[in-house]
């Protein structure tokens, strides 16, 4: 079964402000704390790895 992830907020960004955004080919999507997100949502595998490394996404068990 594939893993599931949600957006985390390690920097304590105030509520109501997007934590993440991905812009691709002129279109932008935003995520708030607690939103579900998948590796394919990131702009690149490198971007996804950075999100994991910075604790911006966490696996949901």
């Amino acid at each position: 079964m594939s893993k599931s992830y949600v957006v985390a907020n390690p920097r304590g960004i105030p509520a109501g402000i997007p934590i993440l955004a991905v812009r691709r080919a002129g279109e932008e999507k935003q995520w708030y704390e607690g939103d579900t997100i998948a590796p394919a949502d990131a702009f690149s595998p490198e971007g996804w790895r950075d999100l994991l490394a910075q604790g911006l996404v966490r696996e949901v068990t």
Partner: protein, 259 residues
């Protein structure tokens, strides 16, 4: 590496664009005191670095923008500068007004407003400011192309550095005007952008005082990793927010570690 002049430079003071009224800038200085710590076993002076400091001094032409605006201070550097604000102001001297332009930022107190009427009929005022918030004059780069306008919540094209850094950083906001509503202004960073537009972006720093009445200025620090891409974003419900943002990446030798 190219030499440059100071043509086309800007001077912002706590959300006011003074550029058109400033005739010259005498001092843009970051400095550190030296302490003599010579031991009796030394025949030459020994020194150690003490506290740091900063100063920015300039001459402004008299401009009260006419009787209609004197009370409000709109567009009037005279009204703004002559009051000698009692609270800290954030100044930014920008070497150009392009994305990535070098900027010097100083959170300071204004210590003087001295006028001179020259024999040639000129009327200029010297303005002195000194560091007052525990931070010296700091050099960074513009994250916006100078003063920009967001008509509504949006993002701007960002800058891309050679690589990420891990020593935190300092963001500087100059909020000039906002027509209606309240805007939240943030800096986002990205590890995978190549052009400052596309990429995976995360909110790095949120300026806290944007709900106050504009014009505003704010200096805010952030710790840890700062990715190579930086861009400005506004959120909320508002119209026509005019602002400028600078950012200084931390370094390993910083006095205040933001790692």
């Amino acid at each position: 590496m190219a030499k440059s002049t100071g043509l086309g430079d800007k001077l912002f003071s706590h959300g006011r664009d003074l550029s058109g009224d400033v005739g010259s800038v005498q001092r843009i200085e970051t400095l550190v005191s030296l302490l003599e710590v010579t031991g009796i076993d030394s025949s030459t002076v020994e020194r150690a670095q003490g506290i740091s400091d900063g100063a920015l001094e300039f001459n402004a032409w008299f401009n009260d923008n006419g009787a209609a605006n004197r009370a409000a201070g709109a567009g009037s550097t005279h009204v703004v500068l002559s009051t000698l604000p009692t609270t800290n102001i954030l100044l930014m001297y920008c070497r150009g007004a392009s994305l990535g332009s070098v900027c010097a930022a100083l959170s300071a107190l204004q210590v003087g407003y001295g006028g001179q009427r020259g024999a040639d009929g000129s009327l200029a005022f010297s303005v002195a400011t000194q560091a007052a918030a525990g931070a010296p004059l700091e050099y960074g780069e513009l994250v916006t192309a100078g003063k920009i306008t967001h008509a509504s919540a949006s993002t701007s094209t960002g800058s891309v550095a050679a690589a990420a850094t891990t020593f935190g950083g300092v963001g500087y906001l100059q909020g000039f005007s906002i027509a209606t509503g309240t805007a939240t202004v943030v800096i986002q960073h990205s590890s995978d952008t190549t052009n400052g537009v596309d990429g995976t972006w995360a909110t790095l720093l949120t300026f806290a005082n944007t709900s106050a009445t504009w014009p505003i200025g704010e200096r805010k620090t952030v710790t840890g990793t700062v990715n190579k891409g930086l861009r400005a974003q506004t959120t909320g419900t508002f119209t026509n927010a005019v602002f400028a943002i600078g950012f200084r990446r931390g370094a390993s030798g910083d006095r205040e570690s933001l790692a």
